[in-house]
Amino acid sequence: MTRKKVKLAFIANDSARKATFKKRKKGLMKKVSELSTLCGIDACAIIYSPYESQPEVWPNTAGAQRVLTQFKRMPEMEQSKKMVNQEGFIRQRIAKAAEQLKKQCKDNREKEMTEVMYQCLTGRGLQNLAMADLHDLGWLVDQNLKEIHKRIDSLKKSASSQVVAPGGSSKSATSEMARNGGGQGPGAGQQEQKPVVDLGADAMQSRPQWFTDWVNNPNENMGFGGDDQMMLPFGDGHGAMWSSAFFP
């Protein structure tokens, strides 16, 4: 097995090309043989190269001739149906790869938006998002809600003893959070919605570095949209904008 990735182009170096040809030809013949045995089917391979006057043939000349006769006996249309040359074959490969790429981009986008969603749950504002992002975020949010509803229903149905939410945090955490949010909004950050949950003690302790930076630079524009409801249950009471660490 090669360690290096081989470039899909004619090998200019003569000796390298010849060496590659020998190895790959051997491998190819082996593959044809395996296919024939494993699947119990007839096959033949013919290779013309500048290195040999006679073509290399699998299984052998007689065997190949037999297969070819069988092949030629078929109606023209049957022969051509699954016939392909280099160009056609490479085009097929390109099409397939493009298809896979499309799916992959979609999956990656979903993963990205998941990150964004979790960030938003901790208070990152939506101001920085373009329409397309909002659209995808909205979709993802709906997907998650669906899943959560399903899960809630199934848990309720099974009616087993539930695990209580972690972090026996006190009321003070909640009010501190409310105070923070209220005090630092641009216009008196009005809280349309009081935080629904008690903030776990953990979240208060593990302040990220950028949050600390932000706290030390209270002049940073909070950028709260006035109409945004504060979904701060998971937030540290901080604002929507990233600290200066994130701006160029």
Partner: protein, 196 residues
Amino acid sequence: MAKKPSIGRQKIKIAKIEIKNHLQVTFSKRRSGLFKKASELCTLCGVEISIIVFSPAGKVFSFGHPNVDSIVDQFLGRNPPPNSTTHHLIDAHRKASVQDLNSQLTQVLNELEAGRKRGETLDHMRKLASQRKYWWEKPIDELGLNELEQLRDSIEVLKKNVTNQTDKLSVEGNVNLSPFFSVSEWLIRLRSNPIR
């Protein structure tokens, strides 16, 4: 949503496969792989190849470079390889065309590889985050009823905010409300300056 990795490559005995379904799947995959190898050999070494394969169902698959018929005819002694100028021109044209296609293919395959890596990075990020202290980032199946209800409520608030923001942007007519940076840029920064 992590995909369960497949069983991986297994060494198999080279003998006719017993189970019909396996046989058909094997045929399909190996035939495809065989043609791929043949195609690569042609490109890398500039040789002419033809492969003919009968399927378990009796259909015939064939690959040929420059094309199946010319190789087959040549082998069967039907026509000697032509040497005219026209032939050389056709040859040259075909070579250029194949070269071009191979570049395209390489490009798409590279993008695919890049995308795969990116996906792994994102998976890793999510995995790390879900192991962290923030319980709401754990996979949904691991949450208790109480937590789920809290999470649901918060997400519903988020949903309202998203709707509001969307409406706001629509009303403002998308007038150059260029975000400070795109989502991907933001994620790149996030990776180099992990906030947690």
